[in-house]
Symmetry: C2
Subunit: 548 residues, 2 copies
């Protein structure tokens, strides 16, 4: 042994922010305004929480659930469980009761910390989650007088009160579990991904690279992506390591509120799904000159591909770089990021070409392998044209689901992501679609995502969703659901005309359906499965199949 | 197993730069100008070199020496040995022949690649290094006609010619050795530090953090620190991972030449010891308006503490941040870095306070533990006043010397660094001195480094070196050796007057000795051991001890 074989445990990095930046604030949005604590206070409270959890009889490796919004107490849960070797199971607040029941029981949660405003949801499960021995209730201002019929519930503040503010983190195997997150599967039961210390440690370093999100201790980070979704994209860990200012919106996700919060707190970087940034864009446009977002420099955007028109708007109007990211729960989650200037050779690029870079899915993160394969598992050329399933492997990629291996998703350590796309000659990945959302018309593939993003570029269109509909001759044909902006009036002809600049005639949607709402999944993506089911139950027929 | 347990081998990251940035250049300085190759060419040649090395009968784990300047072929040696699992022993070109003989034999080098201009040095050892079976000669322009009496020597180009350009890197244990570097010990034989794959992998990610050196693929990096010194501070690995442009000065280290090279190539970031930046400063001052260094933004500075006056000059004159780093061969080498704005709380700092930040030794890197201890191994308070020995531990800190454990340097995994200093309330480390260079006068410590940096702030002083001299009453008293700038005339009174603004009278040097040269160690630091020995052999006496 020549070098120290220090295990890569999260406890080695999570106290660092509070050590170097004790007075920096962690701001949580509340009904009335904000609740503000410093890093040192939060660290001390996390150590108290660690004592409280272990004193309550839990043992290293036990699973603890969090049913919480993004807030400082949720961050304390990350901190305390990571330090003690408990496993944090982040419960998605938007899941159905049936799915919640399933995942709580499948994971075997022994204790759940719940935000008081979410108690009524949990209450409905009280007799259906027998592994749960105890409920701890975190009450933000206005919810201090919570009550519940769930037995053995205790207030979070009472739970940690009087505990010592220094827990001596123990050393254990770096492959020990750290977290559990279930994917909102579209078929069958949700599948669990178990995160390990070493994997998240490496992931944390990676998202702190200059060429990644360029995170710094001098950032003010607003975490919009829920902390229950793929460990908040790893950003809570990075923040704890770096000691940057944090702004957490809790349940107050209305675009105007988020925009105001970001302006008030001087946010420099934020992370969320495209629909969030579309909402923020509208809020900014509707309040001209009222929001000072001059400190904002980067918006990391994942979950699905952001429309190029939106990327362009943020850059040209605000000088804000939308950093497109791609990954998934099974990937911890980060796989690729697309920067405007992604490599030395791009320094000479025009603004237009830089915009085009940003609209790609991105370059693979250091340490991961990524490739595209055909149906016979042959690697395909990186020519920007060959479409194949994207596979990844590396130290923070899932190797099996939690107590539910699904070997069909893995081969030679490659994770089959279910996304299809190309890799171009610049080594940029460009995801075409989820394989199940591609439209197969006359034997050729049409990307629903590409169509949606093109339609969103039409002035007056607020949101678009393209799904396949069955056709006896072509197999499938695309149909577009469109939400128009307030007072806008955009004809189907105008939309198709716009799209025909980029798409062949046979690739255009057969019909544009104007709607007021498009269902979203629990992670804020377009819920195409529900859209297809609704069209089906409504008896929708493609125009050329309708009885005259 | 929930996550893939991919071993952290350098082969996972070293091909990435060439993959994403194939056309970016690696520029090596030559007698006549520059030699330019692309990342793709270099990658291909590295894979050819890997084949050549393994075809020559070497086996994974064998030690291969490089006796080379910073150039693209040295980078190929890094690349090829890391991929194949050979161990790269970087030989310091400035070592004495006796030390070279010792370390080559102690490490058991089986093959050495040598730059042709260094052949005459190696030639003198030819009968004294029996483990070496073969010499490969890398010839830059002007040296193609090298010849040697060393048997079994072959030209580098001939060695790799015709080999396949794709070597399938193998998978092996991440704790396998990667490199060997011997410290230029001041007493006894040099001590070897064996770098392991996992340690350097983590170190590479760490130096790529925004809050570290802020390295990016869009940088143009000029590596001044020798690649034979602590793996070139890890920067070759980071560059191979990121694909940034590289500028390598080879043996052409004259300040004017380096300055011109940096201007010509558009260098954005560089790394070296303080004497290099003092030389560069002089070259810039002597050529007003002639050097366009407008792209330069950061100079990482390690080896010893840079004078505050120099840090200020670079910032005020060029807008260049000197990033002071601290570490050592035993630390892979990075321990701390000092940024002007090192944390969120510094955003409100004045320029003056930012300058003061930069003049400290720095904040510890994520993943390392660092503390100061008294002589009984009790941790000392972080109050900016308690002086103790700095100890570090973590995944890229040495746990023993190569085949020469030296247990006195290690305890509970802490490396005793031999540096003494304080930690202030901001958690900044401030190194006072090497413990052996501190001056102990009347029972109190005086920092030779602090005195030197203060003296360097006097207009007209080019370099200063403070050493202890024995005194019957006080134990030791400080004496300053000073090199003046050309045509400058600075009196001892002026120097002491300047220093007395910051130092108490009893801390001032007893005498200022004006010299033309101060000896440097093989890594470019002030060689105080030799200075003390010279004073001794010259029969130097402190002023108040001289016979009238």
């Amino acid at each position: 042994m020549a070098m120290q074989h220090t295990p890569l445990l999260m406890s080695r990095i999570i106290d660092r922010g509070a050590t170097i930046s004790p007075h920096t604030e962690i701001v949580t949005a509340t009904e009335e305004g904000t609740r503000r604590v410093t890093y040192r206070e939060t660290r001390d409270r996390s150590h108290q929480l660690a004592h409280a959890l272990m004193d309550s009889g839990l043992q290293r490796g036990d699973v603890v659930g969090s049913f919480m919004w993004n807030g400082s107490r949720h961050l304390e849960m990350y901190h305390a469980t990571a330090g003690t070797g408990l496993v944090l199971h982040t419960l998605n607040t938007r899941l159905s009761l049936a799915d919640l029941e399933y995942i709580i029981s499948h994971a075997g949660d022994k204790l759940i910390v719940v935000d008081a405003d979410l108690l009524p949801l949990l209450e409905q499960l009280k007799d259906r989650i027998p592994t749960v021995e105890r409920i701890i209730v975190a009450a933000e201002p206005g919810f201090e007088d919570w009550s519940t019929t769930i037995p053995n519930a205790m207030d979070y503040e009472e739970f940690i009160a009087g505990k010592p503010t220094n827990y001596q983190w123990e050393t254990f195997d770096e492959y020990s579990p750290l977290g559990l997150c279930y994917t909102s599967g579209t078929t069958g039961n949700p599948k669990g991904v178990e995160y390990e210390h070493r994997a998240q440690y490496l992931h944390t370093l990676t998202i702190g690279l200059t060429d990644s999100m360029n995170l710094s201790s001098t950032d003010c980070m607003c975490l919009i992506v829920p902390m229950f979704h793929a460990m908040g994209w790893g950003l809570p860990w990075a923040a704890l390591m770096l000691g940057c200012k944090q702004v957490l919106p809790h349940r107050f996700m209305q675009p105007e509120r988020v925009a105001q919060l970001m302006a008030d707190e001087g946010v420099t970087v934020s992370a969320g799904v495209p629909t969030i940034w579309q909402g923020l864009q509208a809020a900014i446009q509707q309040n001209p000159g009222k929001l000072d977002l001059s400190k904002l420099s980067r918006l990391t955007c994942g979950g699905s591909a952001p429309p190029a028109s939106m990327i362009e708007w943020y850059w040209k109007e605000l000088g804000v770089e939308i950093i497109q990211g791609w990954g998934m729960t099974e990937m911890s989650p980060l796989g690729t990021l697309a920067r405007r200037v992604g490599k030395y050779e791009h320094l000479d690029f025009s603004d237009e070409k830089r915009l085009a870079n940003g609209a790609k899915t991105g370059l693979v993160m250091p340490g991961l392998e990524l490739d595209i394969f055909d149906e016979d598992f042959n690697p395909l050329p990186h020519d920007g044209e060959s479409v194949g399933e994207i596979c990844v492997r590396g130290p923070w990629i899932c190797s099996e689901y939690f107590n539910n291996p699904h070997p069909d998703r893995f081969r030679d350590n490659w994770l089959f992501t279910g996304d299809v796309g190309v890799i171009d000659e610049e080594e940029y990945v460009i995801v075409a679609d989820r394989s199940k959302d591609l439209v197969k018309s006359g034997g050729e593939w049409i990307s629903s995502v590409d169509l949606e993003n093109e339609i969103c570029g039409v002035e007056g269109v607020a949101q678009a969703c393209v799904v396949a509909q069955p056709h006896p001759r072509w197999g499938e044909r695309p149909v577009a659901l469109v939400i128009l902006a307030t007072d806008a009036d955009v004809s189907q002809e105008a939309i198709l005309e716009h799209c025909s600049e980029k798409f062949a005639k046979w690739q255009l949607p057969d019909e544009v359906l104007y709607v007021d709402e498009i269902p979203l999944t629990s992670t804020g993506k377009l819920d195409k499965k529900t859209v297809r089911a609704s069209l089906n139950s409504d008896g929708y027929q493609l125009p050329d199949l309708r009885v005259a």
